[in-house]
Every structure is written in C-alpha cells, then in structure tokens.
C-alpha cells in the first residue's frame, strides 16, 4: 500500500512531463534494443551454423591437411599435399584404427560448367557416393554415381537443383552432356532442393574423386578425408587413433609439427560456440556504451526534477518523511524511467530481430530460425533496472540531504 502510493506519485511525476520523460529514456531504449537485436541475431546465426555442422552427422570425423589452427590469425596450410591414398588405406586397417565404418576421401574443384551456350561457375566436390549419406543428399532425378564409377574414373556428374535450372531450364537434365574444364561429363543425377545454408548445396556439383584428381586437378592427394565411426561413443577413440596412425606414417614425433588435423563434430561446434560468444560479447559491449550515455541523461533529468521539487521535498520532510523515504521515492522514479525504457527496448529489439529473421529467411533464402533468448530479455530487464539504480543514486541522495526549512523557503 505504501509502495503503491510512492509508485503513484512517481507515475504522476513522469506523466506530468511526458515528452521530457520520453526523450530521457530514448538512450536506454536504443541501448536495450541494440542488445536484444545483437543477442537475438547472434543466436540465430549460431543456430544456423550449428545446424549445418550437425547435418554432417555426429559420427563423422574430418581429416584435413595442415596443422590445427591455434587461433583466428593462424592460417592453416590447406594447400599441403600431405593426405595421400596410402593414408586412406592406413585408416582402413583395423590394426591401426578400430571402429571405422566408412572412409570417404574428397577433393574440391573450382570450375565452370558449360552446356551449349550456358555457362555457370560452381563449386565442385570430388567424392565417393558415400557423401550423399554424410551430407544427407537426396536425388530428385536419376541417381548418384556409384562406387563402380569411382573405380572406373567415370566422367559422370551429379548437380544441384539451381545448377540444373540454369543450364537446362525446364528440359530434363539427366543424360545431357556438359563440359567441365574441357572434358565432357554425363549428368547422371539432379539433387533435391536443400535451401541455402553455410554451403549452398543447390549450387554445387559432385563427381567421382578419382575422376576429379586425374582429369580436372592432376593431383594424387586429397583435400579432406571423411571418416565415419561405427558408433557415436567411438568417435573420440577413432579420432585419436587416426592422429596416431597418420603421425606414424608421416614420421612425425612432435605433435606440434603435424601436417594434418582431425576435427570431430563436437570440436567444430565448440569452436563455433566460442567465436559466436566472443562476437556477441563484443557487440553487446558496444551497445552498452549507449546505456551509459542514456544513464547520464537520466541522472541529469533526475537532478533537474530534484531541484524543481525542492518545496515538495521540504513539505514531505515537515510531515514526517525521513531522508530514507525521500531517497526511496526518487530512486523508484529513476528505476521506473529506465525500466520503462528497458521494456520498450526489449519490445523493439524483438520486433527488429523478427523483421531481420524474415528478411534473412525469405529474401536471402537462408534456413534462419527466429530466436529471442530468455537470457537477452533478462539481461535487458536487469541492465535497465541497474542503470536506474546507479544513475538515480546521486540525484536521490541529493534529494534526501535537503534541509526541510531551506526546501520549504525555496522559490
């Protein structure tokens, strides 16, 4: 009841100066909106990336050339030719690595695909058919190339939906002949549409890795070796055994001098989590500057209010209010100001991030999920209240210290 009256007084004070109150909390509104927006969009981006990694399957282990990067500025030597067919053979030896279900080597080719007068620049992967299982690729027309195609170095290609649409339009793609780097390939399959993500499958094409190595790249090493463990529980052991095996066959004694690195899905997810946390903290700190500026505005306006209401303070003291009562009243008013700013900011932030996710999803074709983390809402409420307390404390203590007679005499 007492608190209700104090709140009523506080509301009356704020309502009496509507436009002043609104302008005062603008800084807080902007700050909280920015924080919510950054946290919400950051969460959405992280989820998108994590979904992609999850899509690789939890049993998949990736071996890539070059040593493990030690930080964002540590470039991996991806162009080394350290991964050779004999490494694949070594990993397949149960005496070396136990619990391996499949080993699937891969190479990457950047090339132009030509059909008649139509040309398109695409990202190509030289793989074996197992990639369709690892990456969850479904075929819409025709079929994926086979192990036999890999063995024979067949000139066959499986294309993404967008590649098919652009080259052949409405015509059937399967059975058509296309040229890649001057060599003729036969289209054997078109993939089902996947939607854009980190890697846009719809814009890609797949050929047998043996064909890519021999005719398109002229190399005999791999850009990656994907290993699938028999069970998820075996993943750490298989990863460790691969490291030991490759180190032995590459004659490496010092792990710091590895010419390859092994990544499991858990590793990749953890490192993405760290990167996204660092980014979110960084951007949130920038938004927090606006809160400090907004808080100073609050303090300024509260000091003005204390001066304007000097007589009221004197009267309240004369009828029995203690310094503590006055302090409480003005603190409550500044918390009410910043709290209102916080609520408005959360609503605006939620709205803007909703719009952003719609744009990303429909205009850019990303599989973007809208996320408003509870932690962001709590942070918004907590921080805006805290700003009210911190920047209201000085004006409120000025009010509490006023001498009742001088306050009553004040004109």
């Amino acid at each position: 009841m007492r608190l209700r009256f104090t709140l009523k007084t506080a509301f009356r004070g704020l309502r009496a100066n509507k436009s002043r109150s609104a302008l005062t909390i603008l800084g807080i509104v902007i700050g909280i909106t920015a924080i919510i927006l950054v946290m919400s969009v950051g969460e959405g981006a992280e989820q998108l990336i994590l979904d992609q990694i999850r899509g690789l399957g939890s049993r998949t282990i990736i071996v890539e050339p070059g040593r493990q990067p030690k930080g964002p500025s540590d470039f991996v030597e991806i162009f080394t030719d350290s991964l050779k067919p004999r490494d694949v053979a070594a990993i397949l030896q149960p005496a070396n690595v136990q619990g391996v279900a499949r080993v699937s080597p891969a190479v990457a080719v950047a090339a132009t695909i030509v059909y008649g007068t139509e040309t398109k620049r695409i990202t190509m992967r030289g793989t074996d058919p197992f990639i369709s299982e690892i990456m969850n690729l479904a075929v819409a027309e025709g079929s994926f190339f086979t192990d036999e195609d890999v063995r024979r170095r067949a000139s066959v290609v499986v294309i993404g939906t967008k590649v098919g649409e652009e080259l052949f339009g409405a015509d059937a793609a399967v059975g058509q002949k296309v040229k890649i780097k001057g060599k003729t390939f036969r289209v054997v399959g078109v993939l089902k549409e996947k939607g854009a993500g980190l890697i846009d499958i719809d814009q890609m094409a797949f050929v047998p890795y043996t064909t890519a190595q021999e005719y398109l790249l002229g190399i005999n090493h791999f850009h990656a070796i994907m290993v699938q463990a028999q069970t998820e529980a075996l993943v750490p052991r298989v990863a460790r055994d691969i490291e030991l095996t490759l180190r032995e066959s590459h004659n490496i004694t010092d792990p710091d001098k590895d010419d390859f690195h092994v990544t499991t899905q858990a590793d990749a997810m953890a490192s993405i989590g760290i990167v996204s946390t660092i980014l979110t903290v960084l951007l949130t700190s920038v938004a927090a500057i606006s809160l400090v500026v907004g808080g100073i505005g609050i303090m300024n306006i509260m000091l003005v209010a204390v001066t304007e209401r000097t007589r009221e303070i004197g009267l309240r003291k004369a009828v029995g209010a203690t310094g503590g009562d006055i302090m409480q009243q003005f603190l409550l008013e500044s918390i009410l100001l910043t709290g209102t700013g916080g609520v408005v900011g959360i609503a605006l932030g939620a709205m803007f991030s909703g719009i952003a996710s719609l744009v990303l999803r429909y205009a850019m074709g990303l599989q973007w999920g809208y996320a408003l983390p509870l932690s962001a809402v709590m942070l918004g409420v907590g921080v805006s209240t805290l700003v009210g307390v911190v920047f209201g404390l000085y004006p409120a203590s000025q009010a509490a210290r006023k001498n009742p007679i001088e306050a009553l005499r004040y004109e």
Partner: protein, 239 residues
C-alpha cells in the same frame, strides 16, 4: 506539565565568515490546550522560533523540551517521527502537492506514519469533514480557491491527530473572508477538540483570535500576555 518548554533559547546562523544571531535567549512555556500567537515584525526571529519549535531546525544554545524531552536527545529519524505523529504544520503558501487530489494531499502524512493503510481513507475523510470540504474530496487542488486550499492544508495537519498545530502566517495569502474561515477552524479545533495551536502572525487583528500573545522583537521577547478581549471568527462563539 507544559507541552512546550523553552529556556534561554538562542539561534545563530553561521556561514563561512558571517555570524548572524537571530534569537538572543528566549524563554516561555506553552501548556497543552493553549492557543498562543507569536507576533512580531518581519526579521524579529518569529519564523526561526517556529522552525525550532516544529523540529525543523535545532537551536544554537539553550533548551527546548517538547512533551518533557529535550530536542537534542532525538535522532533525525525520531524527530521525523515526532513531526509526523505529534505536530501538524500549516504554511502561508499552503504547500500542497500539485496535480493531486484533496484526498491524496490529506493522506500524505499517513504515508510516513505507523497507521495501518486500511484506516487511511477513513482518517482522511474525518479530517476533510472537520474543515468542511467533504464535497471537494475528489477534486484536484488546482481547482480550489485559496481559502479552500488552506483548509486542505489544515486537514492535512490534522490527519494524524497531532498534539500541536503550528500555523505560520496561515491567513497571509488570503482575502479577509477566507482568512476569517481559516481562523474559525483553528479556534474550533482549539476549543472543541482541545488541540494546542501555535500561530505566527504579524497582524494584531489575527493574533487577537488567540488566548495569549507572545511579542517578539529583535530576537527577544518583548511581552507575553493573555488576550483581554479575545476575537471570535464565528459569531456563534461570542461569549
């Protein structure tokens, strides 16, 4: 026992280099139930005296006992409680809360009291009745006349049933008709409800509504006498 007991009270306002003596040793007692006017020209120290009596300020030397207790024995928090529960204030410029109803203004002292909130409305209503403003209870004070505003201030002073009401030039900003109504209420509170009233004024006419006049000049008491022919604001009160 005297409610108010002042002995050799002095007050000196001191700033960094300036010492301004205002009261030079003032002594008197006021018994419970009295109606006393403190009179003097401006600058005589009468307002300073009222501030000390009302626990809004502390004396430089001398003693002031209220209800048997010396002011120096109280902490600031206790002074606030005594002001809240035992004293009521009426000021020349009303000092009402702007943009606030009569009811909420009168309720203000209850906010800082130990009275249970359930009794607040009833208490405020009784106080508003006592000053004859029941028909205005829900009004915003901005809509009231000066005389009505001062009556709201008196109702606010009454709401905690104080032992003494301090009125500092309560008729100073009012026309004679409204001033008369205010004096009538103060006299009624004193005679019917036995409230002690201490009135500050510079007008002899207003002071003669009291039972006793203490004249102050240059920080000293000039005279302290009972009023021979007391004025009554309401003709009903003529004896």
């Amino acid at each position: 026992m005297a409610l108010i007991e002042v002995n050799a009270l002095t007050k000196v306002y001191s700033s960094d280099e300036l010492q301004t003596p205002v009261l030079h040793g003032v002594s008197f007692t006021i018994a419970a139930g009295e109606f006393v006017a403190i009179m003097g020209p401006s600058g005589s120290g009468k307002s300073t005296l009222l501030h000390i009596l009302g626990f809004l300020d502390r004396q430089t030397a001398g003693t002031y006992r209220f209800d048997g207790r010396e002011i120096g024995e109280h902490t600031d928090r206790e002074l606030a409680r005594v002001r809240n529960e035992q004293m009521g204030f009426v000021f020349q410029s009303f000092n009402l809360l702007p943009r606030t109803s009569v009811m909420d203004n009168v309720r203000l002292p209850l906010l800082y009291s130990s009275v249970p909130p359930a009794e607040w409305d009833e208490r405020a209503r009784i106080a508003i009745d006592a000053v004859g403003l029941s028909h205005r209870a829900g009004f915003d004070v901005a809509k009231l006349s000066g005389g009505e505003r001062q009556r709201v201030a008196i109702a606010r002073a009454l709401v905690n049933k104080p032992r003494v009401i301090f009125a500092d030039e309560p008729t100073g900003n009012l026309d004679s008709q409204s001033g008369k109504a205010v004096m009538e209420i103060l006299q009624k509170l004193n005679e019917h409800d036995n409230h002690t009233v201490v009135l500050i004024t510079h007008e002899t006419y207003t002071a003669e509504h009291a039972g006793r006049i203490i004249r102050v000049r240059d920080g000293l008491i000039e005279s302290d006498q009972a009023v021979a022919k007391r004025l009554h604001a309401s003709s009903d009160f003529v004896k």
